[in-house]
Symmetry: C2
Subunit: 444 residues, 2 copies
């Protein structure tokens, strides 16, 4: 009799695995259970849906349940797995439309339950005009609410990537936007002086920025903070996410950082025959060698692919993350890869850093814009540890070059010697990364 694979969660990490397993193991029966109404969508596209540059929620869907069914993956949307018995290999499934519960047996299990927004346990954060933007269903609710309320003042609590992207989205709709950040600078995942530059740029775009401001409560009309009240018709949670690992943890799977499910290089959980991938998992950082949590679509897709290949009887491993992330807020691009100077110190590296200013194109080209590169390396060996960039068009994705260098454990000298592409529309003759490498090499 055919074995049955149960996939819990119908987004990137779940459906990548299902697709790969399907291809490698034609006899496998595959059932995928998704709590929401959408499968395999781009949650990262939600800010552009809010801004209106993407016009339909469906545009963010890469593959619909019907398409998966045509590929012999039995997708059940609006169904939630509410319990797992890993001994008897049985799941308790709740049909969210009819309210009925039933049991589903499985041989193999893949958990891809994603993440949920951190919702501060403080007064008012449960009010209906306080929105997370983690799932496409969240986005649909937010759009609906924004349509009804027609907010004039939006407060974004937290200033990570998603927070800033949503702030830009509302700003582009001519809504007054305030970002409230508890830390000393915006983007607390970057080094503070880099965050300070970004904060300044945001203010220049007309986005109000409050730093060192703890949001203490939300009322119908305002967000109360340690630095004063801010009027708000609508509140967005940009305070990050945590693994939604409760289902796996309750079933006895080992958990680690932030409660993420612990997996090995094949994305196998602590129980045989059970895999996990994506935002519900802990992963590890290739540079620090330490456990890491990285809720990103790229990681979810890659891990899902790895899990699916291994589930289907193939073999492959996930190489770890580098902490790479990029974003754009209006004309400002922001990128990072590897460790910040702060993170490098915390990981035990004797780090040395240099920050340089350059341009995104040859200085004489009309399209040249300022760009800043901060490069971090190990003092004794010159080994590259990380990069942060911010500036005009072309600034963010430059960190991909550093990502490749980090994966290969290259040094500052190696980066300086790299034969990078040059033409006046793309960079000065010394690419900004190499101007930074040259400055750092001179210091080491």
């Amino acid at each position: 009799m055919a074995q049955r694979l149960l996939v819990v969660g119908g987004d990137a990490a779940g459906m990548s695995a299902a697709t790969r397993a399907r291809r490698l193991s034609p006899d496998l029966e595959i059932v995928a259970v998704e709590r929401g109404r959408f499968t395999s969508y781009s949650a990262c596209g939600i800010p552009y849906l809010i801004a209106g540059s993407v016009t339909a929620t469906d545009d963010l869907v890469v593959r619909t349940p019907a398409e998966f069914r045509a590929a012999r993956i039995d997708v059940r949307i609006q169904h939630e797995v509410v319990g797992l018995d890993l001994d008897t290999r049985r799941a308790e499934v709740h049909n969210l439309v009819h309210g009925r519960t039933f049991h589903l047996g499985f041989d193999l299990l893949h958990i891809a339950t994603g993440a949920r927004p951190v919702r501060p346990d403080r007064p008012g954060f449960e009010l209906p005009h306080v929105h997370g933007v983690q799932t496409l269903d969240d986005a649909a609710r937010l759009l609906d609410d924004a349509y009804r309320r027609r907010p004039r003042r939006v407060v974004v609590v937290g200033s990570g990537y998603v927070g800033l992207e949503v702030a830009e989205a509302f700003k582009s709709r001519r809504v007054e936007v305030t970002v409230v950040e508890a830390g000393a600078e915006v983007m607390p995942s970057l080094d503070p002086e880099v965050g300070a530059r970004i904060g300044k740029a945001l203010r220049g775009m007309g986005i109000q920025v409050m730093v060192s401001a703890e949001a203490t409560s939300v009322t119908e009309t305002a967000v109360q903070t340690s630095a004063g009240d801010v009027p708000a018709d609508l509140v967005i949670l940009g305070t990050g996410v945590r693994p939604d690992s409760r289902l796996g943890a309750d079933a006895g799977l080992e958990t680690g950082l932030k409660g993420g499910l612990v997996v090995d290089r094949q994305q196998r959980s602590s129980v045989p025959g059970v895999w996990a991938a994506g935002d519900c998992c802990q992963t590890f950082n290739l540079v620090s060698g330490q456990p890491s949590y990285q809720a990103l679509g790229t990681v979810a897709n890659k891990q899902g692919r790895v899990a699916g290949i291994n589930i289907g009887g193939g073999y492959t491993t996930f190489p770890g993350v580098l902490g790479t992330a990029v974003t754009r807020v209006c004309d400002l691009e922001i990128g990072r890869s590897g460790l910040t100077e702060t993170e490098a110190g915390r990981a035990g590296f004797a780090a040395v850093a240099e920050t340089i200013e350059s341009t995104t194109a040859a200085g004489y080209m009309p399209e040249a814009r300022a760009t800043i590169v901060k490069l971090v390396a190990e003092r004794q060996t010159g080994r590259l540890l990380g990069a942060q960039t911010t500036g005009g068009r072309g600034s963010a994705k430059r960190v991909d070059v550093v990502a490749a260098c980090l994966a290969a454990r290259l040094t500052v000298d190696d980066l300086l010697g790299l034969d990078l592409g040059y033409a006046p529309p793309f960079s000065p003759v010394w690419d900004p990364l190499q101007t930074a490498a040259r400055a750092l090499a001179d210091r080491i």
Copy 2:
């Protein structure tokens, strides 16, 4: 008594060396002799000067002779070194303004005489309306000539990077432009099917493209080709360049590929105390391990820096080139790094390649444009050998990631696993490079 360093050539490779040597060796007397009127300029900016997006020739000058003199580098412009005696360490220098010749002794010598355009030895190619675009003096002559002639029809002979950039420049000035290419497709340095796509795109922009058309002669009013005559008021040589190594070769220095001066990893020539860097040298390709000739500003700057550090008593080496090059023609970006499939075969690799189509941003973003990636790898090992990209904004500089992978000898699987930055304005969730890597990994 202080030693004297003579630098022959006042552009990137010469002046980078002079600057570095100056910094490391404060007692050294440094004399730099430049035939033209400009020092340390961006020859790559010439097409933008023609287009008018850069308005003044001086904008392309990074550092003037006066600035160098202030840094105690004695620059003599409009002087040409016409002979070198390496035994007596004496140069014969011709003052091009006064017509006088004098001798200059030296202890150390750095040769950075650059390249000159290939000018076919065929009738009419010596006519005054046939222009190379190698030096800023060439550009000044061309601009002057174009101003006087007000050409309505320009023919570019050859379709390399510079040829296409100049074609775009004239096109942007509403001049009728025809590119005449002897090879089967434009950009013969790329694989033919990639060149075919670029040819199609150029035609779509209104640039006329003739392939398999050998330019046999030039008259006052036309370029005659094996595929018919093309009316032309002005002709541009886009047929590539050759090392201008005659001075060094005549003095007895060893030469190699295309007559380029042979240098070691420290940029030392075959004679002790004599260095060379930039377009007048042969270099080597890191991927093929074979001699290579790469007349590019980035290489010249890097090699000049290496020579200068070694001249100044420091130690560093040039790591070799990867054949990286990028350009933009109207909205079309083109990039390459490493070996093409053709070059890989010629170098003895059993190569396998995949070409994929993707988008420059998430497919649902309004700014998403088509992009094509061709990835070449060694069949047995999966080692990456090269990449070619072409498409919308963001296509070209993606090859820099591949450059880093090539320098580190990473495999297709390594590239597939890389933690590259993702956000909807920058790429689909699988970066186009990784979509190509995935396709190639599936085949290997």
